[in-house]
């Protein structure tokens, strides 16, 4: 129990003392998660829209597959990405192994199904009258997508926040693809795993608090998007 208290104190210390390792991990985490969120939102929102808006044959099967992809274990994603970007893999020449870019690719694969699945089910809930109204006002395809997504913005926020939570806290990909290299690819989560592995539970808790604080800051800055 006492390591919880110690962790609290340590968290403050780490941040105040500007601990170099911690700050480098914070930066890595922020860079990687921002990048993967942008990519997965950019691809997942339109994909989810298409899946939720249109009726087509095999839609239900596709949704089931997508839901299944929500259960991709991070280590498996890590292995998959590793297979491609390892020096002998088909993308080996880009030297992405043990880089933040590599992690970001893996996290995008992780977040994409989440964004897409939640977006699709939010878009599915759109009032059919809205579609009719947009068509009747002369909206083109692009207008329809953007307006529909804007109409359900609170639902999409949930998609984004959930995906962000998954990306921010995943360890498997960062570990496998990034390699947990100090000052380079060590993210907060891999650092937590390391400290915990060393038995330094207080340090693990401290870093966990740091991570949660980041999430809190991000969510506060998103909360102005919320419905009052």
């Amino acid at each position: 129990m006492d390591f919880l208290v110690a962790g609290f104190i340590k968290a403050v210390e780490l941040l105040i003392n500007f601990d170099q390792g911690t700050w480098s991990a914070i930066c890595a985490t922020l860079r990687v998660s921002t990048c993967s969120m942008l990519l997965s939102l950019g691809a997942g929102l339109p994909a989810g829209f298409l899946l939720g808006y249109f009726d087509f044959k095999g839609k239900r099967a596709l949704r089931t597959v997508l839901d299944t992809l929500l259960s991709l274990p991070t280590v498996s994603v890590g292995l998959l990405v590793y297979a491609f970007i390892a020096s002998r893999g088909p993308l080996g020449q880009f030297e992405l192994l043990f880089t933040l870019t590599g992690i970001a690719i893996g996290q995008t694969i992780l977040a994409f199904p989440i964004v897409t699945a939640i977006t699709a089910s939010v878009v599915e809930g759109i009032d059919p009258e809205l579609k009719l109204t947009l068509l009747s006002l002369g909206a083109g395809k692009k207008n329809i997508i953007t307006t529909c997504l804007w109409e359900v913005r609170y639902g999409l926020l949930a998609a984004a926040v959930t995906a962000y939570g998954r990306v921010l806290t995943e360890v498997g990909i960062s570990m496998m693809v990034g390699g947990n290299i100090k000052y380079h690819t060590r993210t907060i989560t891999t650092a937590i795993a390391l400290e915990t592995n060393k038995g330094l539970f207080a340090d693990g808790i401290a870093l966990g608090i740091v991570l949660i604080s980041i999430a809190f800051a991000v969510n506060i800055s998103l909360s102005f998007l919320r419905k009052k």
């Binding site: 009719l132 109204t133 006002l137 002369g138 909206a139 083109g140 307006t147």
Partner: protein, 343 residues
């Protein structure tokens, strides 16, 4: 003015297996105002959605200005506008709702004033309403905001699905005026579905009635709706009243599948008392429920109820005065079964 705006060819629409629309042909002239009437579920909204290119009919084509057009066709987008039956307001302010259509057309000049005018034309004060959010409106106000959002676009064709359903008398009058102004100012073609027949009769210059997906044009016809009693094959009968088998209409023989009994309005005569042995099989007792001024006070639309059968007849003021017709008065509807057609 007699240029053709719409042409519908063999339009059929199915929801699942159920056929809800079956129109052989229909033409709408440019600049006309067409009233669309018919009981609930007859297919008015479906027809309007198809004409707005917001719904692809199961079979058949729709021509606009001589061209076959399709859903999402870019040519159609800025020309045809539909006010849906349950107007949906976007989750933004009233102003943004009305400006939305202009914005997607990238037509932003003088937007403030155009929105203001549109609001005014449906009887809403700009100052009071423009900044309100979509949910801060009463039912009729929301309806009118949706109408304003269509008017502001000044479309070539304006399809209105029950534009005055929950709108007060004064505002309905304003919407009528706005519709007429649309025709006058930019030659707008209007098709208006409504159950408020007096209002619609005042608005429109031609009428189409629709019944179980079939069109009966010109408004000069009355439909004697099913069920028909075919127990004597050659003399089908329409019973009036829900349960008792007392008064009835003799129909013409020769009913075929899916056909309805139709009678021209002019073939129905009004008497104050029954006449004996005059060769007219049908002498039905009815009561005048309402009399409403038609366009320009030239005619009076008179609604007569005989049990559960309603019939609308246009009378001249002279006719009405001669017979001293007034709402509440009991009269006799007289017509021959030979004048009933199966269509």
């Amino acid at each position: 003015m007699s240029e053709i705006s719409y042409k519908l060819n063999h339009i059929q629409h199915y929801y699942g297996d159920k056929k809800v629309l079956d129109i052989d042909g229909l033409q709408i002239c440019r600049g006309s105002i067409t009233g669309l009437t018919g009981p609930n579920g007859s297919g008015k909204s479906t027809l309007l959605k198809i004409m707005a290119f917001a719904l692809k009919p199961t079979h058949g084509q729709v021509w606009l200005n001589g061209r076959k057009e399709f859903v999402l066709s870019p040519r159609v987008r800025s020309k045809v506008t539909l006010l849906t039956q349950k107007p949906y307001l976007l989750k933004r302010s009233v102003f943004d709702n009305i400006a939305y259509g202009l914005k997607i057309r990238k037509d932003m000049g003088d937007i403030e004033n155009r929105v203001k005018d549109a609001l005014k034309s449906v009887g809403l004060a700009h100052g009071d309403f423009a900044r309100r959010q979509w949910h801060e409106l009463s039912g009729g106000e929301a309806q009118r905001v949706a109408m304003a959002a269509r008017l502001v676009l000044q479309p070539e064709v304006l399809l209105l699905d029950e534009p005055v359903a929950s709108v007060d008398t004064k505002s309905a009058e304003q919407i009528r005026k706005a519709s007429l102004a649309a025709r006058k100012n930019w030659g707008c073609t209007l098709i208006i579905a409504s159950h408020d027949l007096p209002w619609l009769y005042e608005c429109s210059d031609t009428r189409i009635s629709i019944f179980q997906g079939q069109i009966f044009s010109t408004g000069t016809e009355n439909i004697i709706p099913p069920p028909y009693d075919l127990s004597q094959k050659n003399h089908p009968v329409k019973w009036l009243g829900q349960n008792e088998k007392s008064e009835h209409i003799h129909l013409a023989p020769g009913k075929k599948n899916n056909k309805f009994a139709i009678i021209q309005k002019e073939k129905i005569h009004i008497r104050l008392e029954k006449e004996k042995a005059n060769g007219w099989e049908n002498q039905i007792t009815g009561q005048i429920t309402s009399m409403v001024m038609e366009k320009n006070a030239e005619l009076i639309m008179t609604t007569i109820q005989a049990k559960d059968f309603f019939i609308d007849i246009s009378l001249s003021p002279d006719q009405a005065e001669n017979l001293k017709l007034l709402p509440g008065k009991k009269i006799i509807l007289m017509f021959s079964s030979r004048d009933i057609e199966w269509r």
